[in-house]
């Protein structure tokens, strides 16, 4: 305590308090830079850890897998039959597969599902094998969607699903039930099945421990490597043990595993560059998980469908043609099932929060959380800085004093608080309204004028036009110079930044990636300075910051990016092995791509993203859009209002009063 006193006295005697207060904006920026440094340090040796299996019961790859040549014959047979019927309707295909599964000995059922907006029927076939030795309370799920996320017919996957089902039924080792599901796609249809399973289905097999989604679109026998996807909705990830098991098993069978879109050339790499790329891509993938394109247009990773029900899910996507064959892929699935079958309890490794840097390295929450905490802290510091009059552009020479910091009257507090609440309420209302609209209007994938209009004419263009408001108002909004206006601007701005920081902190734990991405995208909000209407230069700067930090700008950017073939790995390649030839080639690639794609197709990207956001809740219980509506959008709107205020220096009243005295 006495040390604290000594420090406090020294700080006061040296007059450091005003200096410290003046430098708060720089401190805020410094925190953000520190956060960047932190994230770039994570892939360095010593900062991350090797993955390991924490639950001993799992014992991955400890048993010999028998899914080999003799099963291959069945697989070929099933594939041949499905191939012959690939033009058949879903109903016919389901009836055929249902009959086969019934013959094997599964209890089969069909869940009827009509897409609520389009009215297309997409029944889901599922079959349950009640393990004779088990206690019939837990189940493992194998999903073979008829179409992969790219929209290809999942020929190999469906055949694998059937032959594995047949093979599993002959084994006597199962302690948990096995459920095989054949949905039309891994998106809304599968989600509907999962929801119904937990609410209304008659045929069930107990609580689902894990789910494996198989995507094997090729009709051939050879596979090159496996792409593993695992990111769930709302920042939920499967337990690291399941991911580790899948990777270890695949490794054991000779597969390389690609995570987060790592291309073939990077599968053997384990250097700083590759780890950093995977890390950044992981943050992007987690943050945008669940912003799914409209039903029928495919996309997503399959894991979203199981999110929220405490089911550990991974998607195994077979890529390319190589030395491994389709039964090797089948053995991977078999081995994962046998590992999960060994579990005596639920998955309980300490890691539900992690970032993978590669298939076999990860950082845990304690190590990466400070990076989001630093950005959120930057917003808190910015809020304090605004409160201490730093955001008023006239106040460069202002002395810090309690008189300047305290509100001039309680009316100020009430007015600023009410205006913030009004912003919040209107933002939430509009966001809920958009969400409501999306649940009433169907979306046709090819050309949708309604959502095109909604996205551009009612969201992106008006929001961008609003950014110019500070400049426009500078010509005709003149306010009487008063302390009251300054204080309202100050408190409104400070309070909105504080609330934004608070929502970021609350989100940090639930959904690290979303919190970090939103914080970085909205960072320019802290640079805004309000001032008199005569200061046109400042107003222009405000408009620029508002544009950069606008949620709709970022939705637009994200949409465009989703339609380009942008790969983070190519940037890494360019930076790591920089040559002019390489740069030229990349630029040529971009030019070629731009010539090949139509503008209309690219502009469809933001429409998809906005639809994914606003329909997220009622389709998938994904609350990214609600989070934006209570955090980013009100903060942005408040900053917009504040920058339109015509504000003089905060000591205006003081000098007036002094004159009067």
């Amino acid at each position: 305590m006495s040390l604290f006193e000594v420090v406090q006295r020294q700080v006061r005697q040296r007059g450091m308090v005003p200096k410290l207060v003046k430098s708060l904006p720089h401190i805020s920026l410094l925190l953000v830079i520190l956060s960047f440094v932190w994230i770039t340090m994570l892939p360095m040796a010593g900062q991350f850890r090797h993955t390991y299996i924490s639950e001993n019961a799992l014992m991955p790859s400890q048993a010999y897998s028998f899914f080999r040549e003799s099963e291959w014959n069945y697989l070929r047979g099933y594939r041949e039959e499905i191939y012959r019927h690939d033009k058949a309707t879903l109903l016919e295909r389901n009836a055929m597969v249902k009959e086969w599964l019934g013959e094997i000995g599964y209890k089969t059922a069909i869940l009827n599902y009509t897409e609520p907006l389009t009215g297309i029927e997409k029944p889901t076939l599922y079959a349950i094998y009640h393990a004779p030795k088990g206690d019939d309370t837990e189940a493992m799920v194998m999903v073979a969607p008829w179409h992969t996320k790219e929209g290809e017919f999942n020929l190999g996957g469906a055949a694998l699903g059937l032959s594995l089902a047949r093979y599993f039924h002959r084994m006597s080792i199962w302690a948990k039930n096995i459920i095989v599901v054949f949905p039309e796609d891994g998106q809304d249809t599968l989600r509907n099945w999962v929801n119904s399973y937990h609410t209304s289905l008659d045929q069930t097999g107990g609580s689902i421990l894990s789910a494996i989604i198989m995507e094997y679109p090729s009709g051939g026998d050879s596979v090159d490597y496996i792409e593993l996807e695992y990111a769930g909705l709302n920042g939920q990830l499967p337990n690291l043990d399941l991911v580790n098991t899948a990777i270890m098993v695949a490794d054991h069978e000779g597969f390389r595993v690609s995570i987060h879109k790592a291309p073939r050339g990077q599968l053997w790499a384990n250097d700083y560059g590759s780890r950093l790329t995977t890390l950044v891509q992981a943050v992007l993938d987690y943050g945008t998980a669940g912003i799914l394109p409209p039903p029928g247009s495919f996309g997503g990773n399959g894991c979203e469908a199981f999110s929220g029900w405490n089911i550990q899910t991974v998607t195994l996507h077979a890529v390319g043609k190589g030395e491994r064959d389709i039964t090797t892929y089948g053995r991977v699935v078999e081995a994962i099932f046998r590992s999960v079958n060994n579990l005596l309890e639920k998955f309980h490794q300490s890691y539900f929060f992690y970032l993978l840097l590669g298939p076999q390295s990860f950082v845990s929450i304690g190590t990466y959380l400070p990076c989001a905490a630093l950005v959120a802290a930057a917003f808190v510091v910015a809020a304090v800085s605004v409160l201490l009059n730093n955001a008023n552009i006239n106040n460069s020479g202002l002395q810090l004093s309690t008189f300047m910091v305290a509100p001039s009257s309680s009316k100020v507090l009430i007015v600023s608080m009410l205006s913030f609440l009004a912003t919040l309420a209107s933002s939430v209302t509009v966001c809920l309204l958009l969400s409501k609209i999306s649940s009433h209007h169907s979306y046709s994938v090819s050309s949708d004028l309604f959502y095109h209009d909604l996205t551009y004419r009612y969201c992106i263009i008006p929001a961008t036009a609003l950014c110019l408001l500070p400049v426009v108002t500078s010509y005709f909004v003149k306010m009487r110079a008063s302390r009251f206006i300054n204080d309202v601007a100050r408190f409104l701005y400070s309070f909105s930044l504080y609330c934004f920081a608070f929502t970021l902190v609350a989100m940090m734990l639930l959904h690290f990636s979303l919190s970090a991405l939103v914080a970085l995208a909205a960072l320019p909000l802290t640079f805004i300075r309000y001032g008199p209407a005569s200061n046109k230069h400042n107003r222009l700067k405000c408009a620029m910051w508002l544009f950069i930090s606008s949620p709709f700008t970022w939705i637009f950017a994200l949409g465009i990016m989703s339609k380009t073939n942008f790969q983070l790995d190519r940037v890494r390649n360019l930076v790591q092995y920089f040559r002019y030839g390489l740069l030229q080639r990349e630029i040529q690639n971009v030019i070629d791509w731009m010539q090949d794609t139509s503008l209309h197709e690219i502009l469809n990207g933001p429409v998809n993203v906005l639809y994914g956001l606003i329909s997220g809740y009622w389709r998938f219980q994904n609350w990214t859009w609600f989070f934006l509506s209570i955090s980013w959008i009100p903060a942005w709107l408040s900053a917009l209002f504040v920058s339109c205020f015509d504000v003089r220096s905060a000591d205006y009243d003081v000098s007036e009063e002094k004159k009067n005295e």
């Binding site: 305590m1 308090v17 929060f353 810090l400 309690t402 309680s410």
Partner: protein, 443 residues
């Protein structure tokens, strides 16, 4: 000296109207009625609010849960004795008897809203008494207290959760009021006995009250020992009567005592809550649970006597010191009681406003500590969800944020202690506390 300090004084002289105690009874009543309407109408129009809040560990513990009360009511309406069947109800039998009358939603809403509005009125009365006694203009005017309590989110949420703690809060505040108007009287002892009957911890407060009564009586030359004896006798007699009636109506059995008080003292229902206890009673620490039980019970009581001695021990201690001591006791109990809820936080933070004169010597302005408190209170459900809802966190997450919550409460409390000690020192030396030349340092 920096600008900050000088400006504080300047502001105070410049804006005397801000803190001058103006009394406007009409305004006060209007605010209280608004608060009452808010308490009454929200649960009427949004009946789901109770269910949502009652499922949150912040508002409901096994001891005060509305769900268990409903269960008990159901049992007793079906001619079963809830104090004989199972271990669901931990409400005192008389509370259960009371709620039998208020079984339908509307009377119950009216009753709880009334109780909580009365809490606000009691706070206003208490504030008035302290202000008159101290003759200090820096106390808040009545309407501020009324507005503060009427629109206090903690109080509102407590009522919406239909927490039975509201009744205890009212009884406790009434007891304090009775004590403030006549420290030697017996009415406060009766009320404190009721509070002890309702919540067990109430009896801690008779210690500062008795010491103060003893000091005051001996100073006035009245039979101090006699008064203390009479007070203790009244307290025990009331408690006996209440327990006796409870014994009778719960089917002539003392099982209710074990259910109501035994559960608290022995921490028999191990569920996560805002407090410090539950984590130490998880299965891993099973071997030590008896030890922890002793330590935690001791911990909740151990500060009562020293703090009483420190603030009431001196000759010139006033009623304000006594109220402050009781309030600090409430704060310590918030940290150390077995099943704390937001309702306990509510009474503590609502009473903070009574000690306005102490604000000037605080290290952290009340606005800062309130903001910190609300931030943590909003984070608590998030951490609970990560553990229980999303299943991605574990008990450590929730306990960690609970610890932070406790830490802030402790910092606020010790800050008030420090401010009180400084002001007492200035008073004893006859120094004007507003003088800037002097600064006490904590070593």
């Amino acid at each position: 000296m920096t600008n900050i300090d000088i400006m504080t004084a300047e502001t105070r002289t410049k804006y005397p109207t801000l803190s001058a105690p103006t009394s406007n009874p009409k305004l006060v009543w209007l605010v209280i009625m608004l608060g009452f309407a808010l308490r009454l109408l929200v649960p009427v129009f949004i009946p789901g609010v109770t269910r949502v809040l009652d499922q949150s560990v912040l508002f409901s513990t096994p001891i005060n849960s509305f769900r268990s009360l409903e269960e008990a009511l159901f049992l007793s309406f079906n001619n079963m004795n809830p104090y004989h069947e199972g271990e669901i109800v931990h409400h005192p039998p008389l509370v259960l008897e009371l709620f039998k009358f208020l079984e339908s939603p509307i009377p119950m809403n009216i009753f709880l809203a009334l109780m909580d509005s009365f809490c606000g009125i009691q706070l206003i009365k208490l504030n008035k008494k302290l202000r008159d006694h101290d003759n200090d203009r820096s106390y808040y005017p009545d309407y501020v207290i009324a507005a503060f309590y009427s629109f206090n989110p903690l109080a509102l949420l407590t009522v919406y959760a239909k927490s039975t703690n509201t009744i205890n809060n009212f009884v406790f505040l009434t007891a304090l009021n009775a004590f403030a108007s006549n420290p030697l009287g017996l009415s406060c002892m009766v009320l404190i006995a009721v509070s002890a009957y309702l919540s067990y911890y109430g009896w801690y407060f008779i210690i500062p009250m008795l010491l103060f009564a003893y000091k005051k009586a001996s100073k006035e030359g009245r039979g101090a020992g006699n008064i203390v004896f009479k007070s203790i006798f009244t307290f025990l007699l009331t408690l006996m009567v209440l327990l006796g009636i409870s014994y009778k109506i719960s089917g002539s059995s003392f099982r209710f005592a074990s259910l109501v008080y035994g559960t608290i003292v022995r921490f028999r229902k191990i569920t996560p809550n805002l407090g410090l206890w539950w984590y130490f009673f998880t299965e891993i620490f099973d071997a030590f649970s008896q030890f922890y039980l002793g330590i935690f019970n001791l911990y909740s009581f151990i500060f009562v006597v020293p703090i009483t001695m420190r603030f009431i021990g001196s000759e010139d201690s006033s009623i304000i010191d006594a109220i402050f001591t009781v309030w600090s006791q409430v704060g310590i109990l918030n940290i150390s009681r077995a099943y704390p809820t937001i309702a306990d936080n509510n009474i503590y933070f609502s009473m903070m406003i009574l000690f306005k004169p102490l604000y000037r010597k605080l290290k952290f302005a009340p606005s800062v500590s309130t903001l910190a408190m609300f931030t943590i209170l909003l984070l608590l459900p998030v951490f609970y969800y990560v553990w229980m809802g999303a299943n991605s966190g574990n008990a450590n997450f929730f306990y960690a944020i609970g610890l932070t919550h406790t830490l802030i409460e402790m910092v606020v409390l010790s800050d008030f202690f420090w401010s009180k000690l400084q002001l007492n020192y200035y008073k004893s030396k006859g120094i004007d506390p507003n003088k800037k030349e002097l600064k006490l340092t904590q070593i």
